[in-house]
Chain length 345, copies 2
Amino acid sequence: LAALGEFGLIARIRARVARRSAGAVLGIGDDAAILSAPQDSRWLATTDMLLEGVHFQRCWESPRALGRKALAVNVSDIAAMGGRPLYALLGLGIPPSGVSLLELEAVVEGLEEEAERWGVTIVGGDTCGSASGLVVSVTLLGTPVGPPILRSGARPGEGLWVTGLLGGSAAGLLALERGFRPDRPWPVDLPRPAWIGVSELAAIRSAIDAHLTPEPRLAAGQALAGYASAMLDLSDGVASDVRHLCMESGIRARVWADRVPIHPGAEVLGRLLGRTPLELALQGGEDYELLFAAGTDPLPALAGLAGLPVSRIGEMQAGAPGAELVHPDGRVGSLSGGFDHFRSD
Amino acid sequence: LAALGEFGLIARIRARVARRSAGAVLGIGDDAAILSAPQDSRWLATTDMLLEGVHFQRCWESPRALGRKALAVNVSDIAAMGGRPLYALLGLGIPPSGVSLLELEAVVEGLEEEAERWGVTIVGGDTCGSASGLVVSVTLLGTPVGPPILRSGARPGEGLWVTGLLGGSAAGLLALERGFRPDRPWPVDLPRPAWIGVSELAAIRSAIDAHLTPEPRLAAGQALAGYASAMLDLSDGVASDVRHLCMESGIRARVWADRVPIHPGAEVLGRLLGRTPLELALQGGEDYELLFAAGTDPLPALAGLAGLPVSRIGEMQAGAPGAELVHPDGRVGSLSGGFDHFRSD
């Protein structure tokens, strides 16, 4: 990298990012990109950063997976508005040592691979040195495919739904912290209980994948435009994100613990590492599933998405913003916890 | 901050960012912002990060100045396209200690102050923890006011021009590194020579200001639409940026050393600290002046901008991309150097 220099690196990124969609009048290489407006005259804009040591550890996140995830978490935000992603800008902060040019190219390759999947064109960015860790910052622009689905539209009496299975990403992170790796069968320093069979191993692998390369629910988000009254993507854990939905909509929610769809990896890793699967599902972050309220049954809208579970986990209620959890024994508690970057209590 | 939490911080930023321009249908607080298209159907998009320890040191950059600069360097990119900035997204990576809530609010306040100046609305962003230094990442969207001015349009025979005075920012950085501060008269450990008078002190102060709170040349950039054939903003030093212009336009440039307008702070601090003012002007980065090529005299276009010097520093020539420097004695050398985040030779 020192021999190539900043502008050599930009030239290589520019050469690698070959995709040029019709609306991208001018891509990487000038002071700003030029984009032409989509048919819908409204745009969606979102930004998400991944910082080394906070969102990822270089010892277990491959550069390619990191690039994929950096784009995927932004696609998830556009999905949660019921939108279509179009253009991305990439900010790369590169530490003075420890990251090779090959690794940087793999980050861009992963980003480009994910961009290709979702019809996104990388149109520009910024590369610079970083005094410590690797910084990957992505801004994504898109357009609504129907009426944008805000967080504020939920009404009392509506159902509260989630796509997919929850707790997989948090369980996958636990596994990585305990020494599991995507390309290794079992940590050498961890006794392997007899109840771990082929399906349990597959569940662990799937949880790790959910953490390293989350799958944004773009088709579901778009299909829900016109059905969901409020929606957001699950990045901080369902407990926290339900509260966000309630706050923005100005009403309450009640979640039934036994209706929360738990990822099999959360079941296996919870049992293995002494954590409650429900707690991983409610409070673990980064599932990137969609949480939404809907007054009518959303299943017909999602019928085309074979294989994606959709679960009604609760209902919206009148009252001061807040959320409660109904335990299987009928006991009702408050729905608390969830990820917060700064809170220390 | 630990007591307030991530979502408390977001709520405070949201309350502080009051400005809501007509086109910003939905601002901070949802998964993505909703923006309506300007009358021109094309958009400009750019992103720039400021990282602690690389772009700034917290010991001399006030949080408010940091916020202002983070927006200003992006406005400069939109100016260099001949555009009008409209919407900004803010990414904030916050270290675990050493940054108070008051300081973070001052960063947002500075950003908001600068946004107000340039008619920009902050519409969204991302806050997260950072394992080490403070990260401020801004993405700015805008629209062209005329034909966008690319880097690639320069033709042989055209003049090469710059706005403002060069080397001020590099000299200001030298001064800060040597212990000068905006609010202190003179470093106690530095002997003050007799030739330093009031005007020299003012020049040093002005260089420090140029570094800490650069002034993007937005009105000039817009006025040059239709006049300049190629343009970019000076972020890496004129030596490096002239080469970028040549590379993109596929032609050569010749720069006359004695026509380069040198910031008085570069003269004073060069003499004081043993650096050549011309070297600071050519190779110092972050002046954020505009460098452009024009086939006709651009002065009439810029006549309305009282007080902004505009200098013809060279000319564009046919030939393989590259740039040369004509010294005052007639000797011709290559125009080399300039800032590169990674190059170590």
